[in-house]
């Protein structure tokens, strides 16, 4: 595809901007983009966008308050070696107590995910609910970008702005 600005070089940057539901597409070469300052002003690469998103993920401390490295759960006495034998944990607290040990397993079982996205019980405090909802939107946005579904990405970005 040819650059829409110089009409000479191959377009390597493909911009999609959605404003008020109207989609605009632009295909330009790197040089013209730099000359026009487009890349720096209004757009960022998918990699940059993803790294920004990941950097803004809530930390463990924000969400859980950190987990202690202990050998047995103070609430139920469960030890991790039992997980291998029994296939289940001892009590809900084990997810916090053994968080660091469990993370690789959780990540492996859930295709790399370690953060909940979806339904939240109605009794959960409002702030927690908001935090989970933001995290859900952020994950959906990442997925939309990966799948190059920019309409959906724009819609999710707007919803995130409203929530923040």
């Amino acid at each position: 595809m040819q650059c829409q600005v110089c009409n000479k070089r191959t377009a390597t940057i493909h911009l999609t901007e959605i404003t008020d539901g109207v989609r605009h597409e632009m295909h330009i070469c790197e040089q013209c983009a730099a000359e026009q300052g487009i890349a720096a002003q209004s757009q960022m690469s998918i990699n940059d966008l993803l790294s920004n998103l990941l950097a803004s993920q809530p930390s463990d401390d924000e969400l859980l308050g950190g987990g202690d490295e202990v050998s047995a759960c103070p609430n139920c006495g469960f030890t991790l070696d039992r997980l291998q034998k029994e296939g289940t944990l001892g009590c809900p607290h084990d997810y916090e107590v053994f968080q660091h040990s469990l993370l690789p397993l959780i990540q492996h079982a859930h295709n790399g995910s370690t953060t909940h996205c979806g339904k939240v019980p109605s009794k959960v405090p409002h702030d927690t609910k908001k935090l989970v909802e933001l995290s859900s939107l952020r994950q959906e946005l990442e997925r939309a970008i990966r799948e190059e579904d920019y309409e959906r990405a724009a819609e999710l970005r707007d919803r995130m702005k409203q929530q923040e």
Partner: protein, 376 residues
């Protein structure tokens, strides 16, 4: 309500109705939930298990489900009754075999069941015929909200709903559909479907767990990832991508059978019909396999206007269970009814006493012969 009140007929989810029912037999959604303030089941004392059971039983029995609801104590039930509940997919095999205080709440029309003290404290399940995952998720979400008004679920902002096994963590949702794939097997392409399911990160099981798919041609596919993807996203992925792709595989194989391998198709249906009409002894495995071919024949006539000598003869059979309308042809519902009612526990419960395998084979053959017998 007694189990014999429901054992004489098939349940709604296996009635052969609903969208895409020629291939998608049923849709099911299950939610895993645990109560805050209690250990997970495996670490609970008998007293704690009883307390959880009583609390959840009282909550579930008070819900307005728009249907009569009854409770069944699984730990006190005889083995035959437990097997019957497994055959109807009202409880899991694990729940039937486990130990300690446990039970199940069942809606009379069997679209909803709740297992108490299975692997998690509560496993809610909604089952519907055909491809109806959106309706299933709506219904189970409503029931889950109603339960939550009375209990506190174990929930953590990072990991979501906390489950005994980390593989169910997050949403705790298991979405599955039961697919009838006989043409893929007949054309030797079932591996293609299994590989596609693996690529999509789906678990594949038979109607009654590992291994049973080979006989009934029924495959249950379900999501494995429950964390980091919302309930709606999982369901929408099934509806917009997974199910259409899987259904298309089977449709192509059915068209291929008609276009290029019609002799094989005709022979399979002819043999199945003749054996089922004449056998004096028939095992459960054989019945599942032969009835699968009859279901294929009827569906191919209805949805593809297929015509072979064997399909024409099959479609000319009168429905012995049509009641007021005896001239009606054999229906998918009748085939599914035979399929379910001749399973071992169903046979024995309806007969009123336990039977050894040889007697079951004779009784099964008799029931099927009578249903497919044509008065002259």
């Amino acid at each position: 309500m007694k189990l014999t009140d429901i054992s004489n007929d098939i349940n709604d989810w296996f009635s052969g109705s609903g969208p895409l029912a020629d291939i998608v037999v049923s849709s099911r959604i299950r939610l895993a939930r645990n109560l805050a303030g209690h250990k997970f089941l495996h670490s609970c004392s008998i007293e704690e298990k009883s307390k959880i059971l009583e609390q959840l039983k009282a909550v579930l029995m008070s819900l307005d489900l728009g249907d009569e609801v009854f409770y069944f104590s699984v730990d006190q039930a005889p083995a035959l009754s437990r097997s019957f509940l497994v055959e109807r997919h009202l409880i899991s095999r694990h729940h039937a075999m486990a130990k300690g205080p446990r039970g199940v709440v069942i809606a009379r029309r069997e679209f909803f069941t709740a297992m108490i003290n299975e692997e998690d404290h509560l496993r809610l399940q909604v089952l519907m015929p055909g491809c109806q995952l959106s309706a299933c998720v709506e219904q189970i979400d409503r029931i889950d909200n109603d339960v939550e008004k009375h209990v506190d679920y174990a929930f953590n902002p990072r990991f979501g709903y906390l489950t005994a096994c980390p593989t169910n963590l997050g949403t705790g949702i298991r979405v599955s559909v039961m697919l009838h794939m006989p043409a893929l097997k007949m054309t030797g392409q079932i591996e293609k479907f299994l590989a596609a399911a693996k690529d999509m990160n789906l678990a594949v099981r038979g109607l009654f767990g590992e291994g049973s798919e080979a006989t009934s041609d029924l495959y249950q596919i379900s999501n494995q990832v429950t964390l980091g993807v919302s309930e709606r996203s999982i369901v929408s992925n099934f509806e917009s991508s997974i199910i259409p792709e899987m259904v298309e595989y089977e449709k192509i194989a059915r068209r291929q059978l008609l276009a290029k391998q019609v002799d094989i198709l005709d022979d399979k249906i002819a043999r199945a019909t003749a054996l089922l009409q004449n056998a004096n002894l028939i095992s459960s495995q054989e019945a599942l396999s032969l009835l699968s071919h009859l279901r294929l024949g009827l569906n191919m006539r209805e949805h593809m206007q297929a015509s072979t000598p064997a399909i024409d003869r099959l479609c000319a059979l009168k429905n012995q269970n049509a009641g007021a309308d005896p001239d009606r042809g054999l229906s998918i519902r009748t085939i599914n009814r035979l399929f379910m009612l001749t399973l071992p526990a169903h046979l024995q419960l309806n007969y009123g006493k336990s039977l050894d395998a040889a007697h079951r084979d004779a009784l099964r053959a008799k029931i099927i012969r009578q249903a497919l017998h044509q008065p002259t």
